[in-house]
Amino acid sequence: MTAPGPPPDSGLGPRAPGGFAGQLLAFAEELRQEGLAVGTSEILDAFGALELLRWSEQAEFRAALAATLAKSPEDRHVFELVFERFFFRATEAEAARRRIGEGGGDLPGEQEINLDTLRQQIAAALRDGSEAALRDLARLAVAAFGEGQGSGVLGVDVQRIRRALGLRAEPQPELGEGDPRRAGIPREQLRRFEQHLRRELERALIERTATLPPKRPLGELDRALPSGPIQDLAAVHRVVAQLKRRLATEGHEQRGRRRHAQVDVRRTMRASLQTGGVPVELRYRPRRPRRPEIFVLCDVSTSVTSASAFFLSVLHALHDAFRKLRSFVFIERISEVTEVFERERDFRAASEAISRDAGVADVSGYTDYGRVWEEFLALIEDELHPRATVIVLGDARTNGRPPREEVFAAITARAGRTYWLNPEPRLYWNYGDSVIAAYERHCTAFECWRTDQLEGFVKALTRSTVS
């Protein structure tokens, strides 16, 4: 091939060596950069799968790669994004290298494009939701309205063309009867059309300048699955799901060492009577998997206002994950809110209900840890047992009141494990009225005010069981 080399600094770079295989390896490399664990065996699988298929169908090609390379819902989402980006760029780069143009702007009879008809056609295609038609129309629209070099900023050009087409989300009653734009166009469809426009503009730009713009790395927002209403809340839920698994499988490694159940001598002897005293049939002690039982105490006083939304969302997520969970909020007194969280599915409604009727503030509105411990102990003394886990969410600022750590010690002694999640940076611990050191002697304390720290807590949980 004697294609002239690309101009320097074009961003095109040399084509990946090795033809198609090279491209696929480059694609796998990009997946790795975005955090997917793509191993050699996966790549081999991908090649094996592609050998069996016709490649004429993009959907098939894509599904085969997805089945072999992206092996979880999150990975699958990232895969889709990277697939779009990579193959779009690879095609465009190759086209620019070979100087193949689409001839955009030389559309036959370009001058005669009736702008009004075009507007109507686009609106109609949006209503009918035909992807292929939309792509063609977007190309036409770019040819009609994207004249000149544009502003150089894609987003600005996209909006300029959209306005020129008169596409709006709001109803436009001044338009004629029967115009599909009259009732306004759903935002979702507008967004889709804008994507087509952006892509066409990008294509035209690459073609004109024969350079490839630097690729945009995926943002945290693109990467997240479109699930939760609040991004943060979704992250908390994800971590709590992890926590659930950790707590549920804890102690399993211990079970691994004595894999086989213990022989129940009494029942074995009894069974052996049938066979004349020869213990032919062994009877085992039943194995009971551990069911985590959790008590969560959550500080909702003013000193932790900024963190309490986070804490409440943690509580909310915990409630989704665990059945045997009892939650309490406290300031000066303690109040059980298990009911509220079971009833309210909506996080905001739950937090409102708590601030309205929990009745935890007494006189001053300042946290009184000593009193809280006493009340807590009195409330559930009989229900604490070595298999229970107690999690305290609070800043351990007593406002000068006695910390009563001996009561706290009594709680931790009864419960199997106690964890403290403190929303303050470790630097501030034990300064002023913070008495976390007194409590830390009896439990494990973690700094926790972001989801990644929550994740750290969950990880530490596994580590502590190994040692």
């Binding site: 664990a37 072999t68 079970r255 032919v280 079971e342």
Partner: protein, 309 residues
């Protein structure tokens, strides 16, 4: 290697040679595959790799394995996983009682060496699902259901089986697969599976289907249901799924609901019918409340439509 025709069934249906063929075959045995389902099933039969099927509960993961078994004319061996499942239940176990009896009958004449060789033979081996899948004379479909319920040690044990189709038994040595099974593992994603296990599998994500697709499925399973009513039902289910529920209804629930409506002879899906039957698709009290408040009210009231119903 193992899938040679010598060991196959006397007259097995020919193995599907293309994605379309397997899609048509699945449809024939009563399973409507989604876009990538047929493709992955095809790859699994061709590449001989296990498939990890993930997705919400009740979208037809287990059903896919059954359909594949029917399509390929193979026996389905199913291993249901649960917490605390171990080798003795999944792989093999020595038939301890039989061994004891053997020792007792022989103890006088035979020396220890003879007995020892005797009692660790295949005769005293109890085959559990995994071993019987591998040792089977005819190729089978092996379904390891809900593999996320087991613990990690068990997963590690599965690895040997999944990558090499062989099992090591200390007393006997290695048992290699006589025929190569098609292996499906399902997971409800309650636990992250290990990388090592995922690495050995093809991955198939089954999600709630598109409206039209689900309509086809419902009509396939309950053809007696009025077409208009079926569409309405699927639309309501889709609307319910959009809410934030503890357990959103799955395809299985849609089908159950359709059957319920047929049994009740309901001619219309109105508020009253919905209120009576929505416990079929919702399994939590709180979900029931949410749905009654959000979805129930948008349906027509009972008396607005056909009075005959």
């Amino acid at each position: 290697m193992a899938a040679d025709p010598v060991n196959a069934l006397p007259n097995p249906p020919p193995a599907p040679e293309s994605v379309e063929e397997i899609a048509a075959g699945l449809r024939r045995v009563g399973y409507l595959p989604g876009p990538s389902t047929a493709l992955v099933a095809f790859l699994a039969t061709k590449l001989g790799k296990p498939v990890l099927v993930e997705g919400p509960a009740g979208v037809g993961k287990t059903e896919l394995a059954k359909a594949l078994a029917r399509l390929l004319g193979r026996r389905l061996i199913r291993l249901q996983c649960y917490e605390g499942l171990d080798e003795a239940k999944a792989l093999y176990e020595w038939n301890y009682r039989k061994q004891l009896l053997r020792i007792q009958t022989e103890s006088d004449e035979a020396g220890w060496r003879d007995v020892q060789e005797d009692i660790f033979g295949e005769e005293f081996l109890l085959q559990r699902p995994l071993l019987s899948a591998i040792a089977s004379e005819q190729p089978v479909v092996l379904l390891v259901d809900e593999v996320d319920k087991t613990d990690q040690e068990f997963e590690a044990m599965l690895l040997e089986l999944l990558s090499d189709f062989q099992i090591s038994i200390p007393e006997l040595g290695r048992i290699e697969a006589r025929t190569q099974p098609v292996v499906l593992l399902t997971s409800n994603n309650t636990r992250e599976l290990t990388e090592a296990l995922k690495r050995r599998c093809l991955y198939l994500w089954l999600d709630y289907p598109e409206l039209e697709h689900e309509l086809h499925i419902v009509r396939l399973h309950s053809p007696e249901l009025d077409q208009r009513l079926a569409r309405k039902l699927v639309e309501v289910v889709h609307r319910v799924r959009e809410l934030d529920l503890k357990k959103p209804p799955s395809i299985a629930e849609s089908i159950d609901w359709a059957r319920t409506l047929i049994l009740l002879g309901a001619g219309e899906l109105d508020q009253a019918t919905f209120a009576q039957t929505m416990s079929v698709i919702l399994k939590h009290r709180t979900d029931l409340d949410t749905v009654a408040a959000r979805v129930g009210v948008v349906l027509e009231p009972a008396d607005a439509s056909a009075p005959a119903a």
